[in-house]
Symmetry: C2
Amino acid sequence: MILIDYRDSRPIYEQVVDKFRLLILNGSLKPEEKMPSVRTLAMDLSINPNTIQRAYAELERRGYIYTVKGRGNFVSDTDKFKDEYKEEIFTRLDEVCDSAYKAGITTGELTEHIEKGSKEGGIGE
Amino acid sequence: MILIDYRDSRPIYEQVVDKFRLLILNGSLKPEEKMPSVRTLAMDLSINPNTIQRAYAELERRGYIYTVKGRGNFVSDTDKFKDEYKEEIFTRLDEVCDSAYKAGITTGELTEHIEKGSKEGGIGE
DNA sequence: TAAGTGTACTAATTTGCTTAGTACACTTAA
DNA sequence: TTAAGTGTACTAAGCAAATTAGTACACTTA
């Protein structure tokens, strides 16, 4: 379901949080869907259950999943996060543009690159 | 010249590398210009000289500065890195676009956002 | 009842960053 | 020549965070 990148310097639990967050926001994991159990996922990824537990606790704290004791963790309804996620993406876009301008890349080059990419990829309208 | 962000979870030496790399690529630091001495910069930032040394070693390894023993560290000619830096920026742009499409943002919204931002900021052509 | 689930807790280990301190070779300017 | 400033190398220690290991307990479901 997810993979750990051991070349990534970020802690494992943080990678797990991010990957699931994206799966949920993307709709790859739908509301009410059951998350892998702490112990199962730990086995699959060959890491300690405590580490998964920590990741799940963070996902719950942020509202992406909810817990039913004895039954498991389940994906929350995350519609309320979608707009905020879009904002986050636009912020990242602004940062990239900022770097681009400083490097001498023009607005035209940026938009052209995006339009070209979207045609070739067949996405984004 | 640069500042350390202690809220940033990345190691100090890595922040130092990144900041100087950008200053150099931006042209804020020009080829042949002298870098602050290891000890001076360590004093200014209130951190250990070893940490600066580590950052400078990394900058040298990557070709952004060169060392003359007994004299100091100097900025390299980095024209050769400029194109590669632009590539890096376009790669980051692609990643953002990828996230955007998955979140349901269209190409039109992306380019519009960029054009609007560049007009208000008065940059990018 | 047994198996699977989340949760809580302590202890130990590991890893990487950072500091502290020392030493040495080089360059420059007084 | 000398003193101050420069980079470099090295060892040791401290520190913080992540991770592992192990155990225990309460809950749910078949």
